[in-house]
Amino acid sequence: MTPRNVKLIFLREVRDQLRDRRTLFMVAVLPLLLYPALGIGMAQMLSTFAEQKRTVAIVGAADLPEPPLLDPRQPQQFRAHWFAIADDADKLRVITDTMLEESLPGGPTLEEAEFLQAALQHRSRVEQLGQLTRRRERLETPAPTAGPLPPDHQQELAQLRRQEDELKRELDAWFRTSPVQVLIVVPRGFRKQLDEITARLEAREPVDDLITAAPRPVILQNSADEKSVIAGRRVREAIRNWNQQVLAQRLEAARLPGSLPTAVDATGVDLAADSEISATLWSKMFPLLLVIMAVTGAFYPAIDLGAGEKERGTMETLLISPASRAEIVVGKFLTVVLFSLSTALLNLVSMGITSKYMLTMAAAGQLSKLGNVAAFPPLSALVWLVVLAVPLAALFGALSLALAMFARSSKEGQYYLTPLLLVTIGLAMFCISPAVEINPFFSVYPVVGPGLLLKSILLGQPQPHLWGYLGAVLLSSFGYAAIALWWAVEQFHSEEVLFREAERFELRAWLRHIFRDREPTPSFTEAGFCLLLILLLVFASWGFLSSRFTAAPSAAQLLKLQMVYLLVAIGTPPLLMAAMLTRSVQATLKLYWPGGRMLAAAVLLAIVIQPVSIELLASLAWFFPPLPEGVRQLFTSMRSEEVPGWLPLLAFAVAPAVCEELAFRGFILSGLERARNPWVPIILSSVAFGLTHMIPQQVFNATLLGVVIALLVLVSRSLLPGILFHFVFNGMQVGLERLGGDSLQEFAARTDQWLYRVETSPEGLTALRIEWPLLLPCAVASVLLVTWLIRSLPTRPGSPAAEALLASDAPPLTLQRSGT
């Protein structure tokens, strides 16, 4: 690869894109126009939304006690006094049953009048419902000061709930169709009762009986209806403040101080500076927008540069020039990154300026209490923002370019945007959710790493602390970009992808093709499909199993479930697919005798690699999130003394060794072996193997072990060494677990702890740590064995039967094949 050609191609592509009106529109014009336009639209919508009045009906308004809840001069409204923001009183329209007799201007309409009539009829039922709810709530969450609950309260609760549901259904059927959002029912004689209480308090007489017996007003609303929710919130605010006033009157009547109800009355102090309030806002908006715009900014140019060129025939012209395929891809990649970056940053600038402008206006008005919410993030944070945009743009650029190369036409390319965008937005939303913070594990996660780092910086966390993460984020993001780029170059080497015609897809022809043109071993596509099927089944059974775990099953049940899961989700798909889609089950699943030497090597390798794996995981414990409860339960079930030793051995050693090997080193590896480079099947099958383990530390561990097993299988051209390795490795782990932490500790104490020791973490978990005298020879032996395997790797992997057909196979992830 020469920089000269890359530069030539890069410059040409940039000029080409700059001459494209669509690109210019997407990159420059749209962001500059979009945000101001959105701002205007939002301001307009808010103003029209605010003018909408909601209707509140009051039945029994005559019984409302003093002070007046409604405005005496304007009885269609609550008194503005009862709201924190006086204007809120204008947003609720009140109609009462007393208005039915008078004919005031602005009184109830015909429909509302009908509703009020009906409400008068339903009055007793609403009151009854209120009483039921009140009683149920008291039983469910007894006040700490209240006495003990009656012994049969569970039965009573159940009965109350039944009655309540019945009444609710009945009332909802009527209320749902009404023109009213909130209904307040004041019980008859409510005012008189309160007056009497006040009178007794004045006379210093006991009031307990009156207070417990007094019926209470009911506020009826339907929180499934958003209009009702907003109106209900305002009504409750007014009633709460009004209630305070009624209480104050009472206290006065009883000649008690007005501050009596607030005995503790602590003062809350918020340390957050104004700028930090705005920082919270920016820390959500900027990462989300940066990620989304980096994707879209990369995607459209990539489609034009990839699928578009294929479509217009200029790709073939370029391919016969001396520029190598890597040079072409890198030149195009740099162009896409440039446009992704400009789109993302221009969008951020435009959005930032627009929101600052709007917030400044808002801060001057209604939001003035919140302080200076419009403060911009400091300059250093903005520099970080630009720096972090680069790995994101690189990742998305490489990914979009690979997809664009894969697509037959621009139209097909566009279809890939939606899934890409959905996944990205999902990851971005995860980043901005409140409790998520950057940690070592997230920092190497694609998209999430840069997103969370940016969030932390915008939130104003001390930057020296975050420097360490920057390396991890940049390194991992560029690593992922490199993988995607490699994939794009691979696409370029595939004749099927380069010259795929936009043929009509026929399901029947395709199915016939799959069965008629069966080959001895599966294709790349079929391997990918097998993984997809396994992941789906794992996903489905994951939910099933975790529901079982919470129900506290016995250890034996857990182990049996684990076995069923392995058989169904992992063992069945490769067997079925091998039988249906290939001509030779034996060649596909590599059921050959490998010779004693390879089997011995497998056993030896499993034994020496075990301590290395244990120590590696233990020393990386800080990196991974803690194990979920269900998994921990499953592990302790291994140790359980209720089950005989063979059961955990079956569930954790035999079943995984057979099922997982059939799937990952059998069917999937055979399919992936069609790739040109022998490391492609090794790495991809291991990653697939890791993926099905779901839990980060197991994904990591399984991927590494997967590489070792794949080497064993490829070198021996047989699945058996793989199964044996897997069995011995897992069997040793079961053995260690069965020995249990306690006896290990005793054993370690006896052996002076020079080979290994048992470490107890602050959470009370025991972990085995291997000491150097044991670790070093094992590590050396492992390295030697693995090196030997790599040296003996056949240059062109695969069973002899498949070799003849290797040259002409389908690329990954496509359902149809066509040739040239």
Binding site: T317, S321, P322, S818, T820
Partner: protein, 268 residues
Amino acid sequence: MIQVEHLTKRFTDLKRGAVTALDDVSFEVSAGEIFGLLGPNGAGKTTCLRILSTVLRPTSGRAFVAGHDVDLYPGRVRANIGYMSNSTGIYDRMTAWELVEYYGRLYGMEEDQLQARLEEIFTTLQMHDFRDVLGSKLSTGMRQKVSIARTIVHDPPVLIFDEPTSGLDVLVARAVLKTIQSLKGQGKCIIFSTHIMREVEKLCDRVAIIHRGRILAQGTIPQLAAEYGQPDMEELFFELIQRHDGAAVDCAPPDDAERPAGHAAMQN
């Protein structure tokens, strides 16, 4: 300059399963010669020429272009050929001059040498009128000229033309053929594929008739006429094909769906 030895290319097709697009094809072309590859649609012409231009790899057999193995040294082969076909498009958002200049640079030409060469080509092909017109605004004839200029900008010893006249009107086609003729005069080794008999008769020194991936006959036109006792090339062509696959040829030409994908892909 071009040696093709037992070249075979197979691929899998969705409809028909395994397809052999090229079956044990061998021929040679030397400098100063125009070699015609004559065959109906889907005969394997494009597949063959694509292998020679290194964008496809052979399943078996070998091919050498300007002394380099196409499978082992694709870079060296590409530096020594000029390739043009219907599917080698030109960029819409680049002017004629920019495009030819771009390819000249990709071929690693020195800047002053390149500018001189561009002036020369644009003059010979009479392209100065539209040198600063964007690709999207060019007429078919102009585009074809740009393609030819792009093909010869680095003055390659070997030129490959895959149906360069298909879809062109008579005038443009004639101009293209004239250019190819003049390139032969410069001592280039030229391979030229077509399904039009007259072009072959006018242009080619030697011809290979290719059908269903196989070469049915090759030699100079008088040689072929003598060998098969048929002076008319067109009749000779039909006779050979008919002999090859029985009575099937008189029927309507195969529709798109039935054409081998090698050809269909070429239409992209």
